[in-house]
Symmetry: D3
Subunit: 133 residues, 6 copies
Amino acid sequence: MPMLPMIEENAATAEVRAVYEDIKAVRRSDWINNFWKVLAQHPPTLRRIWDSVKAVMQPGALDPLTKEMLYVAVSVTNNCEYCIHSHIAAARARGMTDTQLAELMAVVGLANETNRLANGYRIPVDPQFQPPA
Amino acid sequence: MPMLPMIEENAATAEVRAVYEDIKAVRRSDWINNFWKVLAQHPPTLRRIWDSVKAVMQPGALDPLTKEMLYVAVSVTNNCEYCIHSHIAAARARGMTDTQLAELMAVVGLANETNRLANGYRIPVDPQFQPPA
Amino acid sequence: MPMLPMIEENAATAEVRAVYEDIKAVRRSDWINNFWKVLAQHPPTLRRIWDSVKAVMQPGALDPLTKEMLYVAVSVTNNCEYCIHSHIAAARARGMTDTQLAELMAVVGLANETNRLANGYRIPVDPQFQPPA
Amino acid sequence: MPMLPMIEENAATAEVRAVYEDIKAVRRSDWINNFWKVLAQHPPTLRRIWDSVKAVMQPGALDPLTKEMLYVAVSVTNNCEYCIHSHIAAARARGMTDTQLAELMAVVGLANETNRLANGYRIPVDPQFQPPA
Amino acid sequence: MPMLPMIEENAATAEVRAVYEDIKAVRRSDWINNFWKVLAQHPPTLRRIWDSVKAVMQPGALDPLTKEMLYVAVSVTNNCEYCIHSHIAAARARGMTDTQLAELMAVVGLANETNRLANGYRIPVDPQFQPPA
Amino acid sequence: MPMLPMIEENAATAEVRAVYEDIKAVRRSDWINNFWKVLAQHPPTLRRIWDSVKAVMQPGALDPLTKEMLYVAVSVTNNCEYCIHSHIAAARARGMTDTQLAELMAVVGLANETNRLANGYRIPVDPQFQPPA
């Protein structure tokens, strides 16, 4: 049971309903997932987070599938069960294959390993890696 | 100063030198970065980690730039200063633009935010997100 | 099933029972939650952790509700399911409203986001933020 | 050196300058800290993150000092050097004393400890902690 | 349900079966745990991770029980439910007692606490702790 | 510069001095490291954390070197620069060799990798790993 109850579509205020409708329109979907139903308890957060997701995840210099895979990489590193499920589903809906998922997981695993080797040994950054001024 | 001293190329044993040469050949590079020079204190780890990096980061179902960006996403989430520098440099060498970097950072930031909202509210996974059997 | 079995009150040694009684007295409660029942397998840890909780969470320069909310913020960031439940319950018992919980979650989410932007971009600390000497 | 160069006020476009002016007005401050100067490389992110900070950190059901302390708790848990400095400075500007800071740190430390005890022992959540339906 | 389906022994290809047989031989065990059955969906990862586990966890300058306890310490810190179960079971199989488990947990908890105190207060490293050159 | 100033031995109150003397006596050392000098700003925390460190790190069912190595494993996973330095120094003082350090780092790296594979793939815990009742 979530820490605040979920607000179903038929019980939503006009303010919440407007966000729900925008989510469905942008996603060409006919249902609202649980994440938004809990955030709906605090409408300013529902609106703000949805506006951020809509802006950040839209096509840009990176394509939507790449963005979903980056989202998965973070969610796996942080162990967010909900986000792992929802963003792997979203990536699959955008064409991610099982082999691409396996390669993504391999990169995430390896990065978590070498992150600790670099941090643990306190390895100094090579001057060649400095960003351009 | 790193926790174990770095082994320069001209001080390397044959075993270490063989890995250094493979790194340079695969990367078409003429220098060895500090990460490997510290791992070289334990040759089995140097060999094993390099073989893993070589296998995982090669072109596959995901292209090398996507893999580098996934690596950056994990390294930023974990706050590995060395890895942030080295993998952003690698991604730039493979063509990542400043705008792509900014979009990558925006996704990483947002994913870290919604990961906590989903975990904090203990939001139940929608049945629609279950993976195919 | 926990990694070590729980010790119920009626099965506790005198040493464990003394801590249980202190927990109930300080909290004006008539039951012991599972956390302590597992720690009870190692009485020095049970005693030490309880003494720390009692000392740290007592009213001081910060009031108990603020302390509980700080505890929730950490537990959400670390994804400790048990601690999220127990400390949100404790904060509610001390008067935290649903709106306060929603604002707390919003701060925790945003802080996790900007933490990664600041770490990822390696932003130098402004001299104005240096602590007073 | 940050991963993208900082944009100073006198080099800002009108779009960036508008955000900078809003930051200074809301904060009654006459300077812009480095965090925003780096985000300014991607104006949509600059605008979006500032709008989020402004909305989330304003007085609400929680007062601004409590919000700043929650921000510090998350930043310490995640080890964000920049955010630790900037949000401790902000909390001090809102009246946080050294003793309050020390109590905050004690809570954060203890929560990080008991989070691992609860997660490590896989302690089942007591039914009494379930949120109200 | 895992994100990719598990491959049972009787459904494994020769390539996967060879790894399964090696796992059973090295561990003197007659079954394969779920971790490997999922990795088997991507045979190069199955082989690579198993080779790493075999190499890293073999007796060396550290004995296998110490290595398993270090594995538990990391898994508890990261909250990996699967790894906590599997590596505590492995440590017990190598002789870890309940008291040793309790002491391990106490160290892990305390280290997570003092890590945040040291990071939060930004305590400068004493020159006496510098590694030998 | 730390977030609260350090209190040197010659400026310590009697209460702080008593802890400092106990630290030096237990460790058979003639100096106080920075960690304690900052905690000394809040004497109840100084006393409580020192008492915890003294109790948890003393010889028990696990020997002091094993405990120090567990401390290092956690500190590397969390990226606590101060703690990595101080606890590697302590482990070396108790006999840890460079090869043992390298094996420790290899275990920590690998555990961080497989933690993400297990969490990311949502691998179900095998019934064989359930703890004894």
